[in-house]
Symmetry: C2
DNA sequence: ACCTGAACACCGTTCAAGT
DNA sequence: ACCTGAACACCGTTCAAGT
């Protein structure tokens, strides 16, 4: 006879997120997820096509959270202040959820890749702020400069590539200051 | 009685590299490596402590290659030209060896992390060029701005995050041009 | 209609036994 | 002194059988 599902997709994804964050991607096994939501591994396949899709869903939820963080950091009226606040919020987010953040841009297979529309939505506040600074004809290019730098910085930081001498914080502030200035001066050059 | 080894560490690492490049990191199994070098999987453990160390060794070889590429791209006398050439060489390298490149800054566990000294050596030409532009008191910060941007850009590109509208090449050239300009103007500001 | 045990095809790694 | 088969402890995924 018909029986109601003992778990749900949302429950599964949030259990998976917690596991990734605490044990890393390698620690994410179907059996662990199943045991957290109180079911056996094969039952997960009623809700999710496999481990790959589960990873993609985690990445998408993470991007959506990041998106909200960036949006609420860029509500001021001064574009340079907004850019600075977004950069700091971006970095703090990555520090808070390093393992989830990692897999947003780490997808080696198509299956893991978050929906491009979700990514595009997250970048929207960056496009607005960076585009406002650089002039709208360079909006997308400016946004890509900012996001590439921010993503590269936190990725290298999380990977431990900055172990050497020097103050990491000051390198971050130097970066955002120089990028902000260079976008403003792009507005003045070629119309 | 003593018997000579039927393979070597170099042979193993280069077989592993080829597998990673053609089948991705997930395709790298000890059994495939073993069969390429003509041995059974357990024998690999005479040369390597495990799959993790093998991954680390691939990352280090890749960084060394990248290092040479950057060095030979920055031998001119004009710093802005050198910066441009290094950025292009960096991007081309990542396009040529996407799978190997990916795992340089992807290490989730300490075991996979390339030796910091190897990384530092690879960044040296960037520190020289960027530091020459921005002034030596900002050398390290400037190098981190450049490498973070370049790494972030190619990572996002490889991950397919730039699927949307817009010309990716022009975004790359915009980025390097703006960064070069902003480093030059950093030299003039605070002494 | 969901859940499960059992099974399949893999992994990485260890180790005693061969040569 | 290296190499190997066999074994161990895992994986993800499938599927027939339960309820």
């Amino acid at each position: 006879m018909p029986t109601p599902s003992r778990t749900s997709l949302t429950e599964i994804v949030s259990a998976a997120r917690a596991i990734v964050e605490s044990e890393g991607l390698d620690g994410l096994t179907m059996q662990k997820v199943a045991s957290v939501v109180g079911v056996r591994a094969p039952s997960l396949y009623k809700h999710v096509s496999g481990r790959g899709e589960l990873i993609k869903l985690i990445a998408e939820v993470t991007v959506e959270e990041l998106s909200m963080t960036l949006e609420s950091a860029s509500r001021g009226s001064d574009l340079r202040v907004n850019l600075d606040a977004m950069a700091r919020a971006f970095r703090e987010f990555a520090h808070r959820r390093p393992e989830s953040y990692r897999l947003v841009f780490a997808p080696t297979s198509d299956e893991w890749r978050p929906d491009p529309a979700v990514l595009a939505a997250a970048v929207r506040p960056v496009v607005e702020t960076a585009g406002g600074l650089a002039g709208s004809q360079h909006g997308l290019e400016a946004a890509r400069l900012v996001t590439a730098w921010a993503h590269g910085f936190v990725t290298m930081e999380l990977a431990g590539a900055f172990r050497m001498e020097g103050d990491i914080d000051s390198a971050f502030y130097f970066g955002i200051e120089r990028i902000g200035a260079s976008l403003e001066s792009a507005r003045d050059s070629v119309g």
